[in-house]
């Protein structure tokens, strides 16, 4: 009986190709939208994760305050240089430790000026973050100790201030101080959050604290772990050390956090997930509209085929057999829409992901969910018209014109 109903449904669909297609459109768009969003969202998340791990999968950040966002101000007490030194001295398995403190300044050269972030840090910074020098040099140990006004600038700064010229050896003004450019960072481009990683000025921590910040605070300690050493262990060790140094009693919560890349990427992909969820809701509405379209066309079909239904009932079809026939028809309609939607979504996702230069991540579960969901819509919205057909009075139906 089911096979027969399926056959009849397919034939009915073929008879009204245009009408069937238009009816399916809502489902097609809904299913395609869901799959495209999830696929692209997944690709974007993967890209974020990949970019973060390109920083070095052994990077950790220690920030004051109990929260997830890196580099944001906090009400907890900042670190001091001694904290970074203690980490370097007492925690084993670390490759480099770079304390850092940053501020917004305006960099000026002649008539050109450009607002940027200046970061005071140690020579380890270049190690920890994998930044290379393209031209010139980084500051020496003695320069760092004595706190002379030297800086290393990123490609963006060079562009804005020097145009195409060689910046090495020139002096630029950073806020109130004059500072000699001794190095140029190799270009790195935007990071995952769209920040320009070349729009930075690096100077010795000492110089920064004395001449720009006017305090001894450290807002961020970046740590890279030796290859083969687990970040989990280093994380626990650093946490324990910092609790002691910040005099926290056993009952107090941490007032700092140690984040490794896993957490950072979870945090970032969380944003993507919210977005995906929101757009998914829009897609769900589209599926609902598609379902109503199917119900509408099935009601039209039942009316058009009243005589056929009457004939079937008169010949001896049971109510549930007629119900099944129309229900299967609705489900075939919605499932075909689902299938077309899936094919469309995969094609569009492939195209878009190469256009947006994000990886294409095939998400099998969402494809299955999309298909099952479209089938379910057929059942839900096809039931009412099918029941209406099944409950027709055969004589009335045969007299229908």
């Amino acid at each position: 009986m089911l096979g027969n109903a399926l056959l009849l449904a397919l034939r009915e669909l073929r008879r009204n190709v245009m009408r069937s297609f238009l009816t399916m459109l809502g489902i097609i768009i809904g299913v395609a939208a869901v799959i495209i969003l999830v696929t692209l969202g997944g690709g974007a998340t993967k890209q974020v994760t990949e970019q973060i791990s390109s920083l070095g999968s052994n990077l950790m950040m220690v920030v004051p305050g109990k929260r997830m966002g890196p580099g944001q101000g906090s009400s907890s007490a900042p670190f001091k240089l001694a904290d970074a030194e203690a980490i370097e001295r007492e925690i084993s398995g670390l490759r480099a430790v770079a304390p850092a403190s940053s501020a917004m300044v305006t960099a000026v050269l002649g008539n050109e000026n450009w607002s940027s972030t200046v970061t005071g840090t140690t020579a380890s910074y270049f190690d920890v973050l994998n930044r290379r020098i393209q031209e010139g040099r980084i500051f020496s140990q003695s320069e760092a100790r004595s706190g002379v006004s030297v800086c290393i600038i990123g490609e963006t700064i060079r562009n804005k201030l020097f145009g195409g010229q060689d910046p090495i050896g020139n002096k630029i003004r950073l806020g109130n101080i004059s500072c000699e450019v001794i190095g140029l960072l190799a270009e790195k481009g935007q990071n995952t959050m769209g920040q320009d990683q070349d729009d930075i000025v690096i100077m010795p921590l000492r110089t920064f604290q004395r001449r720009i910040a006017g305090n001894e605070d450290i807002s961020l300690i970046q740590v890279s772990v030796k290859d083969g050493i687990s970040t989990d262990k280093a994380k626990v060790d650093i946490g324990r050390l910092m609790r002691v140094r910040r005099h926290l009693s056993a009952s107090e919560d941490d007032n700092f956090s140690v984040m490794d890349l896993k957490e950072i990427s979870t945090m970032l992909s969380g944003t993507t997930k919210v977005l995906t969820g929101l757009l998914g809701a829009v897609a769900a509405v589209s599926l609902l509209v598609g379902g109503i379209g199917i119900m509408n066309i099935m009601l039209v079909s039942v009316t058009e085929r009243t005589r056929e239904i009457g004939t079937r009932l008169a010949i001896g079809a049971l109510e549930r057999e007629v119900l099944l026939q129309f229900l299967v028809e609705a489900v075939v309609l919605s499932c075909s829409g689902g299938l077309i939607g899936i094919v469309l979504a995969l094609t569009v996702s492939l195209g878009l992901s190469s256009l947006l230069q994000i990886p294409f991540v095939f998400n099998a579960p969402i494809v299955v969910v999309g298909f099952v969901f479209s089938g379910a819509i057929g059942v839900v919205f096809g039931y009412f018209p099918a029941r209406k057909a099944a409950q027709l009075d055969p004589i009335e139906a045969l007299r229908h014109e």
Partner: protein
Amino acid sequence: MINGTNSNGTERQPIIELSGVRKVYGSGTAAMEALRGVDLRIYPGEFVAVMGPSGSGKSTCMNIVGCLDTPTSGAYRFCGVEVGDLTRNQRALLRRHYLGFVFQGYNLLNRTSALENIELPLIYRGVTVRSRHQQARQAMEVVGLTGWQHHTPGELSGGQQQRVAIARAIVTQPLVLLADEPTGNLDSARSIEIMELLTSLNENQGITIVMVTHEPDMAEYATRTVHFKDGLISTDHSHKENA
């Protein structure tokens, strides 16, 4: 199935037994009494012609006999079973397994081949595809439509459509064949063929036939003629001794 309870004098149990059947359409002032107390017994093997003027209630009566409709009052027993007591689905099963119906307006499925139209009742009986084809082809041969199996009703003449309708009704070898003007659209030569077909089904396969007709010539083929007038049976007589 045939397990009658009262045998009031006749040696055989009637297959169809209408007693005091009334059928009222509509209600209040718009009420229309299509049948006004019909008593009719039809025995296995009979070939009954139902005649009467238009609007006299023939089709209404056929619908009740065919278990498509139920009387407003009165009783209808089919093989001893009170049809009024059955559910919709039980009546559907009765139609499926014991009745064949040739409707007044054929009621073939559009855009569906003749063969598939004829197979329709077999599908609901759960007959396998192979024997379905075979039985349907056989029925087409019986009504003289061999070679037309792939034509849809729209591609067939009125007479051919009528023969498809007859083939569909007889393909299941029903206990009772109900035919509402089966020769209404046929020329006299074709009509005679159909009547000979019905006669042979009646005589050779023992199918009980109730046939509505307007033509006395056609009624000649039956073993008994019942006349309807204003919702009542006016005359009822047997005219063949071979019943």
